[in-house]
Each structure stands twice: as C-alpha cells, then as structure tokens.
C-alpha cells in the first residue's frame, strides 16, 4: 500500500519554488513577472506553479519520476493497473481509449447517447460504430443505459467488434449493468471501455453504483474535474492490469500536448490525495445534500426529482444518487426554460436543461444555505411561470440510420444545404444540444424529418445548438449526392 498522503507533483513544485531556480526556459512569463496584469488577476502562487517540464518536475510525455509516482498513487487509489494524467480534458481520455482499442475499419459497440468525444474519436480512427439502442424513459424523455440483452445481441450480430463502450453513468446518473456487460465483452474477446466522465465519485463513495475498474473495465476515462474537485480540463485515463501501458501512452501522446500544464497536473495530484483520504465523508455529504434537495423539490409538487425508484434491473440498472435531475414538463416548462429563468431572474446557474429536465450539479463545493436557494427558486418558478403542458414535445429516442462511417462522412465530399431542405441526406457533421453534448446527428447518419422537428423545437425552446460549420445553424453539411459509400 503506497502512502496516499503523498502528492509528489505538488511536493516537487513546492520544492522547485523554494529552491528559487532561475528560469531561462519557457513559459516566458517566468513565474508571472513578465505579465503583471495576469499575475494580479490569477495570483502569484498560481503563476509560479505554471512552469515547464524539467528534471526535478518530470515530463508528462515520458514520466520517470514525480509524475510517474503520482500516476502510481492514482492507479492504486482507483484500483486500476495504470493511471495516466490527462491535461487535454476527458475528451482526450475518451479518444485515447477508443484509438487504443479500435483501428480503421474496426467495429465498436456503443450506445447512441455517447458524448461527442467518442464519435470524434471514430472520425479520427476510422472505426465504425455499432449503435445499441439505449432505452428511453418516455415519461421523462431521457435516454437510459444499455441492457445486457441488447449488448449481447449486438455482439452476436457483430462478433468481429473490438470493444464495447459504456457510459458509467450517463449525464443524468443512469447506469447500465456494466459488470454483466464487461463479462459479455470479455467472453467474446472484446474490450470493455467505460466513459466515467460523471463517475469519479463511484471510486470513493459508499452506496454509489459500481465503478468501471471494479466492474472489470479494461479502460476508463475519469473526469476528475467534475465530481473530483480538480481544475477544469484535468482528467485520468485508467487501464486494467493486462492493458499494454506503453502502447496506451503512445496513443495518448499522438494528440496530447507536449507542454503539460503543472497547474492541471498538481490539481490532479492534490485532488486524488483528497479523495483517497476523505472521499468517503465527502461523498456521504454530497449524497445527503442531493437527497435533501430531491425530497424538498418533490414536496413542491409538479416537479419530479427522480432517483433509484426508476431502477428496473435493465436499462436503468442503477442510479447515481448524487445527481439531481428534475423533470419539469408537468409544470408546463421545458427544462431549458427553467434553466434560463433560474439564471436570468434568480441568479442561479445550473448544469443544464434539456427538453424535459434540468440537472443541478451538487458537489464537494456546495454550501448548505445555497441548497435552499435553488429549492426556493424552483418553488417560486412554479408559482409564477407554470403553464399548461399541452403542446409540449414528447421526446422519443430517434434510432439513427448509420449510412456510412463517421470518418467517411466527415472527410468525404460535402456540400452545405439549408437545414430545412436536408431531409433524406447523409449528414456530414455534428448537430448537438450543448450541454450535455450528446449528438442529435453525427457524421454518416441519415437526416430524417423527425430529427429536423426535434432540432427546430430545441432551438425554439432556447437550447444552445452547436457542432455545425455554420455557426447560425441555417445550413448543414451533407454528403455530396454523387458519392455513396457502403458501410
């Protein structure tokens, strides 16, 4: 058992600062002295930790000392074979995972409600997605997890697939039976990849869903900066004991910066230490906050803050009780409308609103008094803004028709057409509501009239649509008529 009270990168930075090393290397601001305005804004401590790789501080691309030690400590804390510090966001961790598992033409089984980073990785690698229909809860209008039966079916239809990709959990806190899915994947010689962007706390808290590594995942992307408390853009890629460490590092280095930020790396180091030492109490507290808010919000009436009662042993195998997702359609407001009202009138910024739900992020940083502000605001919004709910769109899962691989569609010959005239064409780019950043359309998929209805409705309700080359989303890139590629 290594000493989890250690934080090697943090300690090395403190020593580096105390040693008063004279910097004739990058960055040019030289511990802040060259940029007084920025130093005034961010603070001297922050600027003096923004330093370059060097012998005492190790090198992220080829770690041999303090970064290596920090990674070993993280691997142990998460119960993984190896851990890699990631400073290009969990996006980079997801991409590294997919690029390490599937090459051009390889198949990868995944639910359609993956984050855009997963499909981005398919564009980069040329791998082909085999989508498993995530079940949809019709009442709430949210995509769920994959049932082991559906995964098994996909495996049988595509026995040559290289990996199965699982969200653990989804943005809404829904978990699939990842353990059973891992067994199925392994029984058929496939890898199990876990997107745990929203699952860092599963590794440390009690009474939470099983973590990817504990369930037998081969690789997992863990967003430390979400529930783990580190700085934005910092993350871990975890791999199981049998996975080739050197190869995974090569893949990471294909795209990750060679100037790894020590602010991000030290934040990972300190946050890992904090979670290893105090994670259990921290997440018991967060869980208590979320449970309190859920029960108070459900008392208001009209709102539905859902939780474990949804679990059905299938597509909702487990639920992350630290997530505060609230269904708002019964008061006649789209989630995105509640999201906007909360910010504009009450000064409360929540994580996201979609067509039928809002999600408030409850965490390590919350103060008890603020919990009641959100509850009080929801109570007041119901009093002032609730409307008749007729005419609101019922969201259904729209089964994507994958006509060509994402890479072929993205790099193929494309033309821009007006969105409303795009039905029947093959999409050449992404269309997303952000957050949660799950594509409505991905490259290679057929554009159907029902998808266009959904895009129009989401836009009307104030969703932030992204992904297209045309920033106003009036035009959409589709594959040129003349070109047809078989999958």
């Amino acid at each position: 058992m290594a000493d989890q009270t250690r934080a090697p990168i943090y300690e090395a930075l403190k020593k580096y600062r105390a040693d008063r090393i004279v910097p004739f290397d990058v960055p040019g601001h030289k511990m802040g002295r060259g940029n007084p305005e920025l130093t005034e804004f961010l603070g001297k401590n922050c600027m003096s930790a923004d330093v370059n790789s060097s012998k005492p501080l190790d090198n992220l691309c080829h770690p041999v000392s303090v970064i290596k030690e920090a990674e070993s400590l993280a691997a142990e804390a998460f119960g993984a074979g190896n851990a890699f510090l990631i400073v290009n966001g969990t996006t980079a961790a997801v991409q590294a995972m997919i690029l390490a598992a599937a090459k051009r033409g390889d198949k990868i089984i995944m639910p359609r409600n993956v984050h855009r980073s997963a499909i981005n990785a398919l564009i980069l690698s040329g791998a082909i997605p085999v989508y498993v229909n995530p079940e949809v809860n019709r009442e709430l209008g949210i995509p769920l997890g994959m049932t082991p039966e559906n995964v098994e079916d996909a495996i049988k239809r595509h026995p040559d697939a290289k990996a199965v990709f699982v969200n653990n959990p989804t943005y809404y806190g829904i978990c699939s039976d990842i353990k059973r899915i891992a067994e199925l994947a392994h029984a058929h010689g496939m890898l199990l990849l876990a997107d745990e962007a929203h699952g860092t706390h599963f590794y440390f808290g009690d009474g939470l869903p099983i973590s990817g590594m504990a369930a037998g995942a081969d690789m997992s992307a863990v967003s430390m900066h979400k529930s783990g408390g580190s700085l934005t853009q910092s993350s871990f890629l975890l791999t199981a004991a049998g996975v080739n460490e050197g190869y995974v590092r090569q893949i990471i280095n294909l795209m990750q910066t060679t100037s790894g930020s020590y602010l991000l790396m030290s934040s990972l180091d300190i946050s890992r230490r904090n979670l290893a030492l105090h994670g259990r109490e921290i997440f018991a507290k967060v869980r208590g906050y979320a449970e309190y808010m859920r029960s108070e919000i459900n008392d208001i009436g009209g709102y539905y803050a859902f939780s474990k009662e949804l679990c059905d042993g299938g597509a909702i195998y487990d639920f992350d009780v630290t997530k505060l997702s609230v269904h708002t359609r019964e008061i006649g407001l789209a989630g995105i409308e509640v999201y906007d009202i909360l910010r504009d009138r009450y000064g409360i910024q929540i994580e996201f609103g979609d067509i039928g739900n809002i999600l408030a992020y409850v965490s390590i940083g919350d103060r008890e008094l603020y919990l009641d502000r959100l509850i009080g605001a929801l109570n007041d919004i119901k009093r002032v803004c609730s409307k008749d709910k007729t005419g609101m769109l019922n969201v259904e899962y729209i089964d994507p028709v994958v006509r060509v691989s994402p890479q072929q569609a993205f790099y193929g010959s494309r033309i821009a057409v007006p969105v409303e005239k795009s039905a029947g064409r093959i999409c050449g780019e992404f269309v997303m509501c952000y957050p949660p950043g799950i594509p409505i359309l991905a490259p290679g998929e057929e554009i159907t009239p029902e998808i266009l209805d959904y895009i129009r409705y989401a836009g009307e309700k104030g969703c932030f649509l992204t992904g297209t080359q045309d920033l106003e989303i009036k035009y959409i890139m589709v594959m040129d008529e003349g070109q047809q590629f078989p999958v």
């Binding site: 008392d299 009450y346 008094l369 502000r373 009080g376 605001a377 109570n379 007041d380 009093r383």
Partner: protein, 285 residues
C-alpha cells in the same frame, strides 16, 4: 487603557464606540457574536463585527419595522418574523391585542441564547404564549407556507453573511405565497449612502418590485447604522402605505412610542432625491 469597538462603514470610513468592557464573545456555526458594555449606547450586540442593536437606539429600528405596517394593515392576526433573535421586533408586536400568533424564525439559535442572557428586557416577549420560536433558515421555513400570514417582517442582517438568502427573489416570491391576499411584507432595506449598501438596496428594491404589486421605501434615522440614514421596504399585494394608513385606528390602540407617530408615518415615505434616483428615477415613488 482605552477600549474601542470599530466597524468599517465603508472601506474608507470607520465608526468607533468606546467600550467599558466586553461582556461576551462566541463563534457560532453561522457568525461571530459579541456583546459589549458601552458608556454611550449601553449594551451593544454585534454580529460579525457589525452593530445590530444598542440599548440606546434600538427603539427607532423596532418602532419603524413594526408600527408602520401595523398602522396600514389593520387587525393583523398572524405574523411571521424572520431574523430578530434579539426580541425587539417581537416585543413591539406583542403590544397589539389583535395579534394571535407570531412565528419567529431565526437561523442562529445562539443569537437568541445570548440575547436572552444580556438583553432580558428585550427578549422577555419571546416567552409570550403567542410566540413560537423556530430555529431554522427563513428561506426554507417560508417555502412551506401558503396564504397564512397577514404580515411578514424580515428583520435580517446584511446580505453579505447568513442573511444573504433573505435578499433573494426566490425568498420574496415564497413570502408572497405565504401572505394572505392583502398581506404586507416589511424588510430591513439597507441604506443609500455608501456604495456597497446602496447596491444591496437597489437589488432588494428591484427584486421586491418584480414580485409585489406595491413596493415603497421608507426611512429612519438610526445613529449606529452606517451613514445614520437607514431604509426599510414596504411591499404588499395592494395596500398602499400612505393611502391606506388609518391614523385614527392606530391612535385608538393607545400604543405609546418614542419614535413612531402617524405624522412621521406619512413623512418617512418622502425620500431624498438621491435615494429616489438610486431606486430608479422615482417611477415607484
């Protein structure tokens, strides 16, 4: 030896009171509570270093936060008081025979305990059988009430500490819901003179105005509060603080006061121009 208590009224202005002796000090889970004996003001309570009440001038604050609404909204029966752990507001309310029930909601039980010990003449009314003391967050308490109170008095600290939630739109909205159809809300409304206080005053005014049909600001002269010129807010679903003032009714109650009278009631809503401008060009005034 000289002992002085100093409060920063702004970053560049200090207000000091000579201290005879410090009587008590405690860090509660919410704030620092101190009680001093002073030669000029008698006993003085401070929270997080800000003067809350002194024996010498508390009558001004408590007269104005209670009697102004009570002379407009007649025969008040049920009252919700938020904050006010010192008991002064409750003491004034208990002088009205029409009042049948008072819910006092104070987030910090330590304030009540300390005031009971050092300000027994102010807190005596907390034992009145009509009073229920609730140690709870006001924002949380009021959310569960509907169409219940004739009057809500928000006797809060400044919006920079535990009182922050009591200056929010969600709180005012939930209060609206908790009031009866012609109910009234009165609150401590900061001051217009120093910049930080003035900003808080404007925010409170905007939020109250967005929730209530009527919102008016009135003033009093309170020597120990920053600038000495302090404001209160009067919000209602229709009652106007001047047109609906029933001076005869109030005078018939025979309540003897040292600051408030019905002539002053009419005058205290007449604001200086710089305050009117700060509040948004006098649209509402």
């Amino acid at each position: 030896m000289e002992l002085w208590f100093t409060e920063n009224h702004s970053e560049n202005v200090r207000f000091s009171v000579r201290i005879d002796k410090p009587l008590y000090s405690e860090q509660s889970p919410y704030q620092r509570i101190d009680v001093f004996e002073t030669p000029e003001f008698g006993r003085m309570l401070t929270l997080d270093g800000y003067v809350m009440i002194t024996q010498k001038d508390e009558f001004i604050y408590h007269d104005m936060i209670v009697h102004v609404p009570m002379a407009v909204k007649k025969n008040v029966e049920k009252v919700l008081v938020i904050g006010a752990g010192d008991g002064g507001t409750i003491r004034e309310l208990c002088r009205y025979g029409s009042v049948k029930h008072i819910d006092l909601v104070e987030i910090d039980g330590a304030v009540i305990r300390v005031c009971r010990e050092f300000f027994p003449e102010m807190t005596a009314s907390l034992d009145d059988e009509r009073v229920t003391v609730n140690i709870e967050d006001g924002l949380r308490f009021v959310r569960h009430k509907k169409n219940e109170y004739d009057l809500i008095i928000v006797d809060s600290t400044d919006p920079f500490g535990p009182g922050e939630g009591l200056f929010t739109r969600e709180f005012y909205g939930n209060c609206y819901n908790a009031l009866t159809d012609d109910g009234v809300l009165v609150n401590q409304h900061e001051s217009a003179f120093y910049e930080n206080d003035a900003k808080a005053m404007c925010r409170a005014h905007e939020r109250l105005r967005s929730v209530f049909e009527v919102h008016r600001v009135y003033q009093a002269h309170i020597p120990t509060y920053a600038s000495g010129h302090w404001l209160f807010g009067f919000a209602s679903k229709g009652l106007d603080p001047i047109k609906d003032l029933d001076a005869e009714y109030w005078e018939s109650l025979g309540i003897k006061t040292r600051y408030y009278n019905t002539e002053l009631h009419r005058g205290c809503f007449a604001l200086p121009n710089y305050v009117i401008e700060r509040l948004g060009g006098g649209k509402e005034q």
